[in-house]
């Protein structure tokens, strides 16, 4: 039993060190060092829970015996018997939960390391500055949603380059809440019903990419209707596009200039990839591509710290975010055509 306690203590210390290093990691190399540290631990990275399992079994057995002997002695089970039984069962359940959760903490740490690795591989950096978030909230009509609250929950900064264009961008997670009153019926306890009202908060999440350096007159292309719109509507010639999107602008010519056939087709091709995509262009704020998908920064992890060598290889390999790259590819395409449209407009 002493060996088990020593193993668990060493593992606890190791995990604390790995967690600390994971929090301060700034490069893939830092993450690789974490996996190397895990690999040097001369035993599997699993808490040994034999003690907890034995104790839990003893408590369950004791509870059962308590009920049995009370029933034998008093011919019924007294309230104190039920209280003792409940306490013993709660203790057993607590021990089992503790045993399972501390092993799950290794999986959570592996997730954190892998998530950081995905961000590093795709040149994304978390941003905690509230100024940037507030600027975005004020700049785009896309964020004028939610009558109760609106907040950018997460913000990342990245850079993307293609053959013809390159830009810095922000990836955000936007959370907004609508507050409303609703009526409902409930039983009045006398066989009838009564009508009551209550306040309901509806939570919504949108995600997106903002590119501040994208300069274009104001145009909105949306499949998820915003609460505030621009005054002039425009309809391109494509039935398929018009089935999915609506276009609003400050004036029709601006929209027509941007919505060249190649851009219209790009929007059509984007529709099956992203859920409810919207694009908003603002002359001072740039571009905002928003959507409902919450998985653009997610990649599937195959291994964990419990297989340190394989996990190391997984961390060392580049993990692409295909959906994010498709969204960025779309923005590059749009940027090229918008630039040509602006040149044409100046001629």
């Amino acid at each position: 039993m002493a060996g088990v306690a020593t193993h668990n203590n060493k593992l606890k210390q190791l995990l604390a060190e790995l967690t600390r290093r994971s929090r301060t990691a700034t490069t893939v190399q830092d993450l690789l060092e974490i996996t190397e540290l895990a690999a040097r631990f001369n035993a599997p990275l699993v808490y040994r829970n034999q003690l907890q399992y034995v104790l839990a079994a003893v408590f369950v057995l004791a509870g059962a015996l308590l009920l049995f002997f009370q029933h034998q002695y008093y011919l019924y089970i007294r309230p104190s018997g039920w209280t003792g039984f409940t306490l013993l069962m709660t203790a057993a359940a607590g021990l089992l939960l503790f045993a399972l959760s501390r092993n799950r903490s290794i999986s959570r740490l592996s997730n954190d390391i892998f998530t950081k690795n995905v961000l590093f591989d795709n040149q994304l950096k978390p941003l905690a500055e509230k100024d940037v978030a507030n600027q975005l909230l004020a700049a785009f009509l896309e964020f004028k949603r939610g009558n109760y609250s609106r907040k950018i929950e997460q913000l990342y900064q990245g850079h993307s380059a293609s053959d013809n264009s390159s830009f810095s961008y922000y990836f955000y997670h936007f959370h907004y809440v609508d507050k409303r009153r609703e009526t409902y019926t409930e039983s009045d306890g006398k066989g009838g019903t009564r009508i009551r009202t209550r306040t309901v908060y509806d939570h919504y999440h949108r995600y997106g990419i903002c590119v501040p350096e994208f300069k274009n007159p104001a145009v909105m292309v949306y499949s998820h209707a915003p609460e505030h719109k621009l005054p002039a509507a425009y309809r391109p010639a494509s039935n398929r596009f018009n089935n999915h999107y609506r276009v609003q602008s400050t004036d029709e010519m601006q929209a027509a200039r941007l919505m060249k056939p190649a851009v219209v087709i790009a929007f059509e091709d984007l529709y099956p990839i992203l859920q409810r995509p919207n694009v908003e262009l603002q002359p001072d704020a740039g571009l905002c591509l928003s959507f409902n998908d919450n998985n653009l920064l997610l990649a599937k992890r195959q291994y964990s710290l419990q297989q340190p060598q394989l996990f190391r290889q997984e961390i060392a390999a580049h993990t692409p975010l295909d959906k994010l790259h498709q969204a960025l590819h779309f923005i590059h395409h749009l940027a090229n055509h918008a630039a040509i449209s602006l040149q044409d407009a100046r001629l």
Binding site: A237, S238, N239, P261, A262, V264, D269, Q326
Partner: protein
């Protein structure tokens, strides 16, 4: 009286359905015509670059490569295109002339390394490439709208309404592999 009302209601419903289908067919036909006009507008954008091409031809004396003849043929093909009539044969001809001109230019500039490296030539080729991309996309939109229209007159009960009232014919889509190649953008290729 009840029978009369029932018959009247059924007749009214039938009339509403027929009117809706009739209008649907007209709307889809208008969308095809608009998409076609869009293709022609994009084709005619080539008229903007023809003067620059002529200037280059004269400046570098590319006459011997037949570039000037190809420019004249393209201009003529563009001139014969009409936004009012869906004429896929005329469009195919204009696209063929464009392809001939681009190939002719590429062959001709091989003898003029100075021209090939010049900004003006590269800008021109970029502009042509951008135009071809938009033409390819406009053709794809046209073909999509034609498909919608054809489905709209061939599926039941639309086919009956079309036979009796609209009397529209099926429209051929435009197939030109080279024109479609001009439009290479696809998110699905990622």
């Amino acid at each position: 009286m009840t029978t009369f009302i029932t018959i009247a209601v059924i007749a009214a419903l039938l009339a509403i359905i027929i009117i809706a289908i009739y209008n649907g067919i007209i709307t889809r036909l208008n969308a095809v015509e608009r998409a076609w006009a869009n293709v022609i507008t994009q084709e005619r954008q080539k008229n903007k670059i023809i003067p620059a091409l002529e200037q280059l031809t004269e400046q570098y004396q590319l006459y011997e490569a037949g570039v000037m003849t190809q420019i004249t043929e393209l201009r003529s093909a563009l001139h014969s295109l009409s936004a009012d009539n869906v004429d896929t044969a005329g469009l195919a001809q204009a696209e063929q002339k464009t392809t001939n001109l681009i190939k002719g230019l590429q062959v001709a500039v091989e003898n003029y390394p100075e021209l090939k490296a010049s900004d003006s030539f590269n800008n021109l080729m970029r502009e042509i490439s951008n135009q071809q991309e938009n033409i390819g996309a406009a053709i794809r939109i046209f073909n999509q709208n034609v498909e919608d229209f054809n489905n709209g007159i061939e599926t039941f009960p639309n086919s009956l309404v079309n036979q009796q009232f609209n009397r529209k014919q099926k429209i051929q889509t435009f197939t030109d592999s080279e024109a479609e190649q001009g439009f290479e953008y696809s998110l699905k290729k990622q």
